[in-house]
């Protein structure tokens, strides 16, 4: 089974996410640019996603809002830079809970043997911005466990 790889190195304000999907790249691209499809997968199941705006073109704006079970809302918005294509979707990303802390994201889709490798590079303005994003922007209640520790150590060991 495919696994989402997240790389966040100390001292470098970036996050790189890679994941392989068992689908052609045009379809994976469509799932990222068609708001009706995006709303069906982005975020955990217990967070509702409302897409208010999704103008998939050079200079087009997007905005969506996550709502959790308690009714708390988390807004995000940004702008597409260049016409999005399977070669690259380049966009800014800003969590409305931390205005002004804008991140630049670039997603690429490479097809090989009917599968698509997606790679998303997020460049933050500072390591602090990145850490705050990871810590609070997409916060979820996750129970800590020894298993998580073992996973971390295994991951560090492998790298």
């Amino acid at each position: 089974m495919s696994k989402t790889e997240i790389t966040a190195e100390p001292g470098i304000p970036m996050i790189i996410i890679t994941r392989e999907f068992d689908a052609p790249r045009d379809l994976v691209f469509r799932a990222h640019t068609d708001p009706d499809l995006l709303a069906q997968w982005l975020g955990p199941r217990d967070l509702a996603l409302t897409i208010e705006r999704y103008e998939v073109r050079n200079g087009g704006a997007w905005r969506y809002v996550n709502t959790d079970a308690e009714g708390n809302t988390y807004g995000f918005h940004g702008v597409f830079h260049g016409d999005p294509s399977p070669d690259a979707i380049v966009q800014t990303f800003e969590f409305e809970g931390a205005p002004g802390h804008v991140c630049l994201q670039s997603a690429t889709f490479a097809e090989r043997g009917g599968k698509t490798l997606m790679r998303t590079v997020s460049a933050f303005q500072s390591v602090e911005d990145r850490d705050a994003m990871v810590a609070s922007g997409m916060e979820r209640g996750v129970h800590d466990s020894g298993e998580r520790l073992a996973e971390l150590l295994a991951r560090l060991q492998a790298s």
């Binding site: 989402t4 979820r140 520790l149």
Partner: protein
């Protein structure tokens, strides 16, 4: 000494970026140990082990105290808990999103196949085959 969490992450990750120090952390997860005990599996000098212990101590990952003549090192769980929780939340967000995307992509591809089965051209071709 109190360092706010994000600053401490850098020290914790840097401390864990070394294979010898990760081995020491795993050993200490089993219980306290002296420098001699910790040095035993490694082909490096005691002062080198002591330097590794100092890095781990500065990151808050271990504490050291003297019992009788031996100086014992012990694992401090809190910084590890903080960084694993920090990573785990973000990892979980994307794991779950991408699993949902897997399901969606599978459903979309199944739909496309179904559409091509009902394609009039495909049906016509099927009829031709039957006539043969």
């Amino acid at each position: 000494m109190s360092v706010k969490a994000p600053d401490r992450f850098d020290a914790v990750f840097a401390a864990l970026s070394d294979p010898t120090r990760r081995s020491i952390v795993r050993r200490l997860a089993e219980g306290e140990a002296t420098v001699l005990e910790l040095a035993e599996p490694f082909p490096i000098s005691l002062p080198a082990i002591s330097r590794h212990l100092k890095v781990l101590e500065q990151a808050g990952l271990i504490s050291r105290n003297r019992r009788a003549t031996a100086r014992l090192s012990r694992l401090e769980a809190e910084p590890l808990r903080e960084v694993t929780t920090w990573l785990a939340r973000y990892q979980r967000f994307w794991d779950e999103s991408h699993e949902r995307l897997d399901d969606l992509l599978a459903a979309l591809q199944a739909d496309e196949e179904q559409v091509s089965c009902h394609d009039p051209a495909a049906t016509a071709k099927g009829d031709d085959d039957e006539q043969d």
